[in-house]
Symmetry: D2
Subunit: 344 residues, 4 copies
């Protein structure tokens, strides 16, 4: 069999590790993996590259994706579905392994249901918010980068009696924020799932000062919203047009929260927006293992004819679930938020 592999959407540490794992498994079983460039665009526009042993060499620690990526959606182009059908008719590929986020899983499901494209999805997001899987690769790396940054900021906060606001990624779910807050020993966290009044954070900071702790670290998801005791609520939204996190964000939630906290508490407050350094570069050992598990599992699913599925991690086991079950956003485990609060 000739099996196309594609990557779509934003960058995520471990993409190349998935490509390598799926490709190597397919080669070992006597099949032919082929790279489809820039997501489904490569399938629609017959833009391929061979994935032989040489092409798959050295990929495990490498950030980014050798297949490039895009936000191409065949259903947003008039000729998109027809092009996919033509590719199938030509026999360009016998099946597709699609590595992408929620949006890509949705496209993948539709291509499977409507055009009978033989597909297996691999969930990809640093945000860890894809429904149906306990963890996505890239998440551990994002948390690692965020926790390292918080470690560095701690020394400055402590030496300078400062409040430091750290804005991390997470537009719809607060997984990175709450996990990095626990790992970095933060003194407050704001996530999209819960409305946290600014006054509550300010009270925590004042309480710390009263106990002689003249510094605080507050972690905030980019998708958290500011709300206030008087009922006002304010969401600093990203540019809804763009699928990605743009520089419009720089005046976002972190800066707004820092300004509010400084006004509320009178303490000097600084903000750091971690941005793209959370989503690129070499994956952690942990993410390399998960990406490898997913890649091999996706190849196995294709070879077993277990199609229209997404590989997933559930309660410690690698498994597959129907793409039709991958709907919505997986919010944080509230027990993590409770755990973080033990230390506020």
């Amino acid at each position: 069999m000739r099996i196309g592999i594609l990557t779509a959407g934003g960058d995520c540490p471990g993409l190349n590790a998935v490509i390598r794992a799926a490709g190597r498994k397919l080669l070992r079983e006597g099949h032919e993996p082929v790279g489809l460039l820039r997501g489904y665009r490569g399938l629609a526009h017959q833009d391929h590259r061979p994935l032989d042993h040489a092409a798959l060499s050295g990929l495990l620690p490498l950030g980014g994706t050798i297949l490039s990526t895009s936000s191409y959606d065949p259903y947003r182009h008039d000729d998109g579905p027809a092009r996919i059908e033509a590719a199938m008719a030509r026999g360009d590929v016998d099946a597709v392994i699609a590595i992408g986020g929620e949006h890509t899983m949705d496209i993948t499901r539709r291509l499977h249901e409507r055009l009978a494209l033989p597909v297996v999805g691999v969930p990809k997001t640093i945000d860890n918010d894809i429904v149906g899987t306990d963890r996505t690769f890239g998440f551990d790396t994002a948390v690692h980068v965020a926790a390292e940054a918080i470690d560095r900021l701690h020394s400055t906060a402590q030496s300078h009696d400062r409040v430091m606001v750290v804005e991390v990624m997470g537009r719809n779910a607060g997984w990175i924020a709450v996990t990095a807050a626990i790992a970095g020993g933060a003194d407050g966290v704001l996530v999209p799932e819960v409305e946290t009044p600014v006054e509550e954070i300010a009270a925590t900071i004042r309480g710390r000062h009263d106990r002689g702790k003249d510094f605080s670290i507050i972690v905030v998801s980019e998708g958290a919203r500011l709300c206030f005791a008087d009922g006002r609520s304010e969401k600093i939204v990203a540019n809804e047009e763009t699928d990605e996190y743009g520089y419009e964000r720089l005046g976002g939630i972190g800066a707004a929260l820092a300004a509010e906290l400084e006004r509320e508490t009178g303490y000097e407050t600084r903000v750091v927006v971690l941005g793209h350094i959370q989503r690129g570069g070499t994956p952690t050992a942990n993410d390399r293992v998960l990406a490898t598990q997913y890649g091999v599992a996706a190849a196995e699913a294709v070879l077993a004819g277990d199609l229209g599925k997404m590989v997933a991690l559930q309660r410690g086991e690698i498994t597959t679930i129907p793409l039709s079950d991958v709907v919505g956003v997986k919010g944080i485990d509230m027990r993590l938020l409770e755990l973080a609060k033990v230390f506020f």
Copy 2:
């Protein structure tokens, strides 16, 4: 309540994070955590230190243990049990949180069963081989250090057409070896759970050379045994007397394997013994979270009267299990070994 916290056995990244988490949770609930120095020796010899907010500050990223540790076993001292009973009679502590490895869990169980010491155990080993829990803190850090080392060795192996043997920790189980092998993209792995003939590894290396790959990385657990096609088997044992990994080990399995591989294949072979750098220093973000979960869960178990238990991670959930269930060694998940082999 006055609750003693102790750390016993070898070093492990995250010990201080557990102490901090348990201590902070107890303080928050209005109880008094107290540090028992050098494991159960501190309980037996009334060697305590207070664990107030100041003492618990700054511990999350800190390697080692502020409570020191030892291999003191009350049952190996004639006056040991009596001393523990005296401490209980004096009311030195109302309960104990014991952080340690399999041996410490065994002592803890006996103290609970024989002397009715109110205890909760926290499983600690970088080796990840404690029965009853899916993961122990320190393991992710050990794998991270090993994978980073393998990344560094890769460039040398590749540029110099070398075989590199990397000896990692794991006397009874191959968790670190197999996980680091997957994360580092190794070309062979030897673990204590499976006898792998040296000739099989040599054949893999020769196969790689035949395909134009003039270098190989082989990962070996310190507790793996060398075996040969003719049925000979050889275990390079550590000094059985010492509870720790000593310099006697330096001429151990890694060096022996390297010599055999060089003899078998004729390719230049080098060995690196990672040793103690795997078991010290700041924990990864991942380990900090798990250590924090364990510490808080241990405090909660003590406060709930859920005694004679060990906190554990099972299928993604933090729980407690009877100490009497913590028997033997948890060998590796064989599916990991299969996964590693996809890339050999």
Copy 3:
């Protein structure tokens, strides 16, 4: 002798390493180091802490400063000079080692000239722009953090055909920018020392695209100014009032440059503002060595009566220079900029 040690101004990796080195050297020679808290405020307000062996333990890898810091300037307080004189009259300290930036060196010089305070300065800035010394501690760490971030951004830029603008610290000099640009393999750099028209950067980016390189990394000092081929020039200034880098900066030069480049080239452009993560946390090995050299040299200068001086690194040698020579800003070595341009 009783020698006060103080740290003033912004955070900088290696402060604690200097304190430790000076303190340990003084203890070894039989003298008494004492910590003056929050810069010269501690001297003026008799706010001291003893620096014995225990207080100096564990400081080498530790970020921040155990002595806290502030921007207190005795010459901005009516009673400032009198308080310093009173401290001298009381014999609070026999000499002072002042660790700080250009502004602190200026205060230190005046206290020496006007009040005959026996002082030795230690130059501190991550920006490496203090006149009279070839390098300051903290600079190598800042470059290390920036280069690591650029490495991570590279993978995203490459996979997504993006232009990435990385804003690094450096208000008056471009040392961090040009060094990180060389170390990270950037495709353009803007520094305060040279006016670089936006069109020139845009032309480089277009040239890369023409050669098939669909991504670019541009590094910009926060103090660079945007200028244009038609002669317009625009400096996005920090809040001149604050001595520190505030969140007002977030809409600064990086975001402005990204917007201009996207407009000029039509390519998607993102910005990352590294901010405070460059100036906190554990120092690199290199910075720890320099900080240790400076600390010991400062102690030696005090003991030798070599006062009114600043320790410095000149052409590979540790030496002292008169504080009166420490005037202005040390701009970048233009050969570094030429070196960076070889790769544009």
Copy 4:
């Protein structure tokens, strides 16, 4: 001009960065860089690969050398010199940039003097012991890796009241040992340049215990020799036959010192031999800059006809020196040893 670039000898972080820098500079000036594979063997055996923009892409952070390396010495092969002359006669290359250690510089000098080969050398060793240059690329990375390891070992040493012996590279000079000792805050260091009686180290350790410091870190160069107060001296030599550090070393100086110290002091002592992880992998930012400076300077020297030279760093300036001056071993700056001793 067609200019050959080669790498010879052991691995060293920054080799690829030098290749890239020299190659890119030559391309920019309109010349043709070509890779000679496996050192001078590639020149002798006409084993080349083109170095165009694509081949030079992505090399800056990459460990190892894309040109491979070997210990091939034309003067150890009967037909070696003739082969080099034939290559020159054929016009394979118009000049050679040779990146290697002291031995390679010696070969390069002879080829220049005897065969008039137009050459420029680039000094390469993690050991920093090449005469004529203040620093070599790779050294900062080796120290960084060693200091990180010492940081990790510190926590274990401290928690377990242990003496830890860390054996680092440095067969003829103690640069890595003394620099890592300063950066890691070691309590003792042994280098090849100075005979340090084991009893002296033991006395330091006992002195620390007397002051309540129950742990110590001792750094030892692999080329240090053990000596004793009674005049005995013992050098644990590497296999003199091999140019590289082999597994024969594992029972070397570190293990011997640990055994002696444990015998002398009675304290538990462990050894870690860092080995090859010091000499592979991605270079530090600092080494990337130096490697880039050397590569560009070597290209410039070739183009300027400044031949028979080695590029060097002297008192902060990049320069060239005659290859005939590169003789012997550059021992450590004794002031570094004095600096380290302030903290013993």
